[in-house]
Amino acid sequence: MTRSRSNPFRRVATGSIFWWLFIFALIPNAMVVMVSFMPRGETEFVELGLTLESYGKLLDPLYLQVFWESFWLATLTTLLCLVIGYPFAYIIGRAPRHLRPLLVLLVIIPFWTSSLVRTYAMMILLGTQGVINTALIALGLITEPLELLFTPGAVVAGLVYTLLPFMVLPLYASIEKLDVRLIEAARDLGARKLTTFRKVIIPLTMPGIVAGCMLVFLPGLGMYYVSDILGGAKTTLIGNLIQRQFLSARDWPFGSALSVTLTLTMALMLWAYVVAARRAAQKVEA
């Protein structure tokens, strides 16, 4: 639909975005990959050279443990968000039409609120003298305060709390679009509630489920300040480990190797999803 290639507006529009992303996205990421293969320097951050040393370090059981724990916590967070979020998104997606904008707005407000503020709010709730402990003692259910803060459980609670809107919003978008006639058809044909849910509703809302899970799982691996504030020194996530390499331990090559590994793992998961989705689509056609 364009006529002249030398149009100045066109050149500005295409050039600005291309070069910005080239300089601030492509080059930095290429540099990180390079740094991950370089030896750690004495005076500078890195020295010239080529080594697999940093990737070798990843096999250290200590770090493998961090990877494992981090993936486990992020998975748990994602599952909890899905289990809590799906029925919730379904209810607001099926609510009377005139109420829906308000109900969604109530989900958007926490979504727009600083995640740091919300993590801090969680801290107030979970502390030894926090709201939950104070209430339980007042009710006479416990005598000694429970140790809630600075546990892996607190980290998961914090992650679920900050990331739940990221699960609900895409789920809502796909549930709202759901064609009621398909559900009615399934019921008319004698499908039970559970069967309708499993065979009709879930497949139709799959895009929302996948988007929501991605939006929860990926930040769940990297939000180091949540585990830093709520998990104390006990819980180390991949994010904390990477941050430490860059901002205190000064081991840039190892930090870069961790980052590259994390990115590759995520890319692999995305790819697995794309392949699975394609298979499923072919199955439907066949």
């Binding site: 066109r10 975005i17 992303l21 080239f22 407000i109 502390g127 300040y225």
Partner: protein, 267 residues
């Protein structure tokens, strides 16, 4: 019956989302430093905030970066979305790919890659001339914030472009309008709600960012989230409660403005 269960469940989830924030706001008015028991109403913590010059300076830094980054990202992202939709150009696939990568990649990965870039620039600048100072600070933070906001503007604007009538643009061109004139008089007005939404989203993303800022800000330049982070790490203080309450109310105002704009657009 089912209906009441639904309402109860939804209320419970809303309570989960709001209860911690409400508690936080309530205790920002509590006249006690440590205890969570209610000791009476006070404005003390808000007064203390108003006297905290460092905090005010840091908050102003955040607003400055937020406004500048959101504005630059909105210009860049809107032009980018128009470019991606209307033009074929060398590297279009690369741009599409990078937008996707930036949205999907964890903030920490973006933070450390930008840090690597800025430190390298700094070293190269020092090699060229000793008077060249490219240390981390305002510029590196601004450039980073523009970088992580732009993809969100592109996505927001693209979703609106996909919705409107292509014939309008064809018509403008057939009537002899130049590409820039068409952009300014036809495309931009149609895109305006998405552009505004993109700006507001960028502003909140910028105001909220902890991770990327922590990587690229250097020791001499600080933004509000970083300051709150270090305050929170020292423990619960009513001052942080007050500050958080102010930030929550500010969010409410921004969301209200965004909703009003969207509504106006629909009519």
């Amino acid at each position: 019956m089912q209906r009441y269960v639904n309402i109860a469940y939804a209320t419970l989830v809303y309570a989960f989302l709001y209860f911690p924030i409400v508690i936080l706001i309530v205790f920002s008015f509590n006249d006690s430093t440590y205890s969570l028991a209610w000791h009476g109403f006070t404005w003390r913590w808000y007064e203390k905030l108003a006297d905290n010059d460092v905090l005010i300076e840091v908050a102003l830094n955040s607003v400055t970066i937020g406004v500048l980054a959101a504005s630059l990202a909105t210009v860049l992202g809107t032009l980018g979305a128009v470019a991606l939709y209307h033009y074929d150009f060398l590297g279009k696939r690369l741009v599409n790919g990078l937008v996707f990568v930036l949205i999907m990649s964890p903030e920490i990965v973006m933070g450390l890659s930008l840090l690597t870039l800025f430190v390298t620039v700094q070293k190269v600048a020092a090699l060229i001339s000793e008077s060249l100072d490219a240390s981390l600070g305002f510029i590196s933070v601004l450039l980073s914030h523009v970088t992580f906001c732009t993809p969100f503007v592109i996505v927001t604007v693209l979703s609106r472009i996909n919705g409107f009538d292509r014939h309008l643009i064809e018509a403008a061109k057939d009537l002899g309008a130049s590409e820039f004139y068409t952009f300014r008089k036809v495309i931009l007005p149609l895109l305006m709600p998405a552009v505004v939404a993109g700006w507001l989203l960028s502003f909140t993303l910028s105001m909220d960012d902890v991770i990327i800022t922590q990587f690229v800000s250097g020791p001499d330049y600080e933004l509000l989230p970083l300051r709150i982070y270090s305050m929170v790490k020292r423990g619960i203080t009513p001052e942080v409660n007050a500050l958080s309450a102010i930030m929550f109310v500010a969010t409410l105002v921004i969301v209200a403005i965004a909703q009003a704009l969207l509504k106006e657009n629909k009519q």
